[in-house]
């Protein structure tokens, strides 16, 4: 089975000179889900930034879709990012755009026709129970609705890899179960997912492998 993510002996130091990832090895097979757990203080999102080429590791190799990612190559990074759907953390909704426009953007990057975009956006909004909010700005949405909207944007262009940061944070039990159901559905549909979370037990996903991120290593 193909690997969508392979991190080989990755080390990363932040701007303050603190080593936040140290000799990390990790892989995620296509269609599988991995839960990366750890407290918020350990900067799990640096891993996301590494995977989307925001910066290059101090040492080690990042392989995405079995190709080495070179963070310095602008076009290559953009091309890889179009295959990744992000939700939460650094991925947020644009505050002054409507929900419709927010979700529409990945399809624009895929050069889809206006009619096809409209059909897909309306369908996903309906699937996620957000159709009535399509004209709303993110400021008018609840935390749960924002997560759903982000998941809709992350999957609308059939992105093969999803990077989801703290999907359950601040959700009430109803919304938490709705988000869990959607994530289960995505997992069953064969999406490869890397989910960063503080508490892995809150998410009960079938076949999800749980890792604990601690002191720059995975356990």
């Amino acid at each position: 089975m193909k690997h969508v993510i392979e991190l080989i002996d990755i080390s990363l130091t932040n701007k303050a000179g603190v080593k936040i990832i140290d000799g990390l090895n990790f892989s995620l097979q296509s269609g599988k889900t991995a839960l990366l757990c750890g407290p918020p203080s350990i900067k799990k999102s640096s891993l996301v930034e590494l995977l989307i080429g925001s910066y290059a590791p101090d040492s080690g190799v990042v392989l995405l879709f079995e190709k080495k990612l070179n963070a310095k190559k602008e076009r290559e990074v953009a091309r890889i990012r179009r295959k990744i759907g992000g939700a939460g953390g650094i991925f947020s909704l644009i505050s002054y755009q409507s929900l419709y426009d927010n979700i529409n953007y990945p399809l624009i990057l895929k050069s889809e026709s206006a009619s096809s975009r409209k059909k897909k956006v309306l369908r996903i909004l309906a699937d996620y129970g957000l159709l009535g909010k399509k004209g709303e700005k993110p400021g008018g949405l609840s935390r749960g609705e924002k997560i759903l909207a982000l998941l809709a944007r992350a999957t609308i262009a059939d992105q093969p890899l999803l990077l989801i940061d703290e999907p359950m944070a601040g959700l009430d039990s109803d919304m938490a179960s709705k988000v869990t159901d959607i994530l289960k559905g995505l997992s069953i549909a064969g999406h490869s997912m890397l989910i960063l979370t503080t508490d892995g037990s809150a998410l009960r996903l079938p076949d999800a492998r749980e890792y604990v991120f601690e002191n720059g290593h995975l356990k």
Binding site: E74, A78, R81, R82, Y96, I108
Partner: protein, 283 residues
């Protein structure tokens, strides 16, 4: 094509969402281009004026009274060999007196026993040869002929006119460069301001996989729009003014069609450079 439509739509959204900054950018560019248009038209008009005046410059060779016909033939043959002479006319002593009479409206020499006016040859030069350097060289070679007593042409006036024209063209060049730089900087900062407004959107779109070029294009369109629109509006204002105001004895010259097209392309270049630098330095 779909992406192009989207980029044009984004550019229109930029203008629609920030109408006041857009108008401010447009007005400041308009002022710059109006200034340039005025300098440009002034320079063309001054140039035309000098051209008209210079076309009237001629040279007169005064001949000795005792000049024989054979010597006169030698001089006229010499004139035929000289480049740039459009025509020349021999003026006898009597012709000179008649011309003076016509000029003054009365015969000033009446009562004199002898006509003191010299014989002369009046030379008209082709316009392109009327330069102080060429006429000076022509004077030097004509002075070599025997029987030439004096040569007159408005040398000092011509030199002054030439230096004035040079000054005007250099001023236009310097002002043009200053306006070009001011326009580029103006656009650069207008576009940077626009980029700052859309900072959040640009950051998210980059995370979603939009390339720098794709994100830059609406802002470059913005720069091009400010520049071209200001140039066209400025041109129309100047055209209206020139066509509705007349100044006596002075023709206001408008640029030729090719010059206008070149200037349009220059405005396009200004917009592209300003927009490109503005957005690329901010992304």
């Amino acid at each position: 094509m779909r992406k192009l439509f989207y980029l044009i739509y984004r550019f229109l959204i930029h203008l629609y969402k920030r109408p006041l900054p857009a108008i401010a950018s447009l007005l400041s560019m308009l002022l710059l281009f109006l200034m340039f248009d005025l300098v440009w038209i002034s320079s063309l008009s001054v140039d035309k004026y000098y051209d008209q005046v210079l076309a009237e410059v001629d040279m007169e060779i005064f001949l000795e009274d005792n000049l024989s016909d054979s010597m006169l033939t030698l001089i006229t043959d010499g004139l035929k060999d000289l480049k740039g002479i459009e025509s020349f006319e021999f003026i006898s002593k009597d012709d000179a007196r008649a011309r003076l009479h016509a000029l003054m409206g009365m015969d000033l020499l009446e009562g004199l026993d002898e006509n003191p006016l010299p014989k002369s040859i009046l030379i008209t030069f082709d316009r392109h040869f009327i330069t102080s350097r060429y006429l000076n060289n022509a004077e030097v070679s004509l002075r070599k002929f025997k029987g030439v007593s004096e040569i007159f042409y408005p040398r000092f006036w011509l030199e002054k006119a030439e230096s004035n024209r040079l000054l005007v063209s250099r001023s236009v060049f310097v002002i043009g460069i200053v306006i070009f730089l001011a326009a580029v900087l103006n656009l650069l900062y207008s576009v940077r301001l626009s980029v700052k407004t859309y900072d959040e959107e640009l950051r998210q779109h980059r995370l979603l996989g939009a390339g720098k070029t794709f994100l830059s294009i609406p802002f470059i369109f913005e720069g091009i729009f400010y520049s071209l629109a200001a140039f066209v509006v400025g041109g129309l204002i100047i055209f209206y003014v020139v066509n509705n105001f007349t100044i006596r004895n002075f023709e206001v010259v408008l640029p030729s069609r090719i010059d206008i097209i070149s200037a349009c392309l220059a405005a396009l270049l200004v917009g592209t450079i300003g927009g490109y630098i503005g957005v690329r330095r901010s992304l």
